[in-house]
Symmetry: C2
Subunit: 327 residues, 2 copies
């Protein structure tokens, strides 16, 4: 697909000029305007519908849909989004997906926000699907629904899960537990798949899978119950850091030493994972950078600078700290 | 001062009916209307100005001004506010006081929000003072500026600081450190005063005061520097839990055992203070309950049910965990 950058290159002008010719032609000199319009025609460039709709009325306000503020990962994402948008002069409205999905959809439809970053997604939520189908600029952050019609920023969840499997395998851990996130949530599903297939590929036994629902309390209960029945495992991979902290507490309560008896790995690398009292080995997904990238993508889309839908994927990296041995 | 409840009692109707008579009289039958208006006159009832202004145009939207999302206390407050407001059908706009105080004031002035909860306050911020002077309903949460014209929910910060001094005194700790919050912030000032006067009243030496600025990084640096020069103290009181976690890390890095060598106490009782890996003794200020009370106060004010300004103060309580000995 032809983008406004292609048009800008062909006409020898900036993308901003192309945007001005299409949205506010009076501000561009006649020769430049003609050159840009010739390039538009020659290349067969079509602005995407959402961007075109947007230019007519700007609210200078954006929305962010989050879930799970109990999870520090989303708090860090929210903080970075809020700073990035306000640096661009945007008001930010925040909705909690569990109570306010309908309010968000209404604001999107009524145009009281120019666009939305969705850092939450459930396949079974009609309100969220409606937000996505609204033809307003949407950036999906960390969650990737099926279909198209949005930009996205995600990280390599599958590869991250596989990294943990590789680390356990290299150090001969065979009796492992996965404290998984909720089924049907893309990040949870991908981390689970990456870990399971990583173990399988290396000929290791499948882990015991505990459903932790991304919740501290749930992971705590599940892990205690598992230890009571089966004793502490050799390695535990938790699909987020919050659950990993709960698992550390459950192991401590049972008198299991970390990492001497049991290795524990999280996912996210939130600030408290690096606290010396936590010192958690984890898969880093650089939430703050992802948030900044997402804010930039949304502003590009709102201001008509974006071309085809963009999907940016951040690399996953295993950060080794005190809850595992090995290198 | 006479409240709408007094009028309702005198007229033998509900408060909602009083409100309808004053705001939308056509919806009330003539005999009831007359009875209510007689009671209004007999009792000399005046609606407060802010509430009266409000009733004319409702945005069904409220604002929350927060600072320091790096501090989990404010995240928990925000979560509870968001749940409470959305349960009442309100949209919630969140502003970060460090970037967006001006945007908040503009929204308040333009009436795009019906009222505001301010969980941040700086005496030197003209924008914040303007928000307070806007005649719109404002609830101050946890921070208490000078002057009047608002409802507030705070906790006993001074008494909380004194509780910690008492605990240290009872167990004979003499060489103590206070990791203080920023001067000019009411919560920080009050906790400092409570701790200092608590030690003084018991004839104990004054603590070394380190300026931690309510920040993890700052508290970490200050505590490391202090230990290098003076060795680990017997007791450390930190003006919030986030700084206490940093202090635990700094002590661990220096090889000091907690609580064998040094006792550490925080303030807030955020969820992670109770994590077994943190297990922090702290002054609880029940942020979630404070937030719910604040949301209720704001809705009362917006919907014209509130009388004189209300100032609700939550009790402080010392929660003993593993970072101190004693009872």
């Amino acid at each position: 697909m032809v983008t406004s950058r292609d048009v800008a290159d062909a006409a020898g002008v900036s993308q901003a000029t192309v945007s001005r010719v299409l949205n506010d032609p009076a501000t561009v000199s006649e020769p430049t305007r003609a050159r840009v319009l010739r390039a538009v025609e020659a290349l067969g460039y079509h602005r995407n519908r959402a961007a075109a709709t947007m230019k007519t009325s700007r609210a200078h306000s954006v929305g962010v849909i989050v879930a799970e503020l109990a999870n520090p990962f989303y708090v860090e994402v929210l903080e970075s989004l809020s700073a990035a948008f306000s640096a661009r002069g945007q008001r930010v409205t925040i909705w909690d997906s569990s109570h306010q999905a309908e309010a968000a959809v209404q604001a999107i439809r009524e145009g009281t926000v120019d666009g939305v970053v969705m850092a939450a997604w459930r396949e079974d939520s009609a309100a969220m699907r409606a937000a996505l189908d609204s033809q307003r600029p949407v950036v999906m952050l960390n969650r990737l629904p099926a279909g198209e019609g949005f930009d996205s920023v995600t990280s390599e969840n599958r590869a991250g899960g596989a990294l943990v499997a590789g680390h356990f395998a290299r150090h001969g851990l065979r009796r492992t537990v996965l404290v998984a996130g909720p089924e049907g949530v893309s990040t949870a599903d991908e981390r689970r798949e990456g870990f399971l297939s990583g173990l399988r590929d290396r000929g290791l036994p499948a882990p015991v899978v505990l459903e932790g629902g991304f919740s501290y309390e749930r992971a705590d209960v599940q892990m205690r119950r598992h230890i009571e029945r089966h004793g502490p495992p050799e390695g535990v991979f938790c699909a987020n850091d919050l659950m990993a902290v709960a698992v550390l507490g459950a192991l401590r309560g049972a008198g299991a030493a970390v990492p001497a008896d049991t290795w524990v790995v999280g996912f996210d690398d939130v600030s408290c994972a690096a606290w010396p009292v936590v010192d958690l080995t984890t898969v880093s997904q650089r939430g703050r950078e992802m948030a900044r990238a997402g804010a930039e993508m949304l502003m590009d889309r709102i201001e008509g600078r974006a071309g085809p839908w963009r999907h940016r994927v951040f690399e996953a990296e295993l950060v080794l700290r005190g809850t595992t041995g090995g290198q």
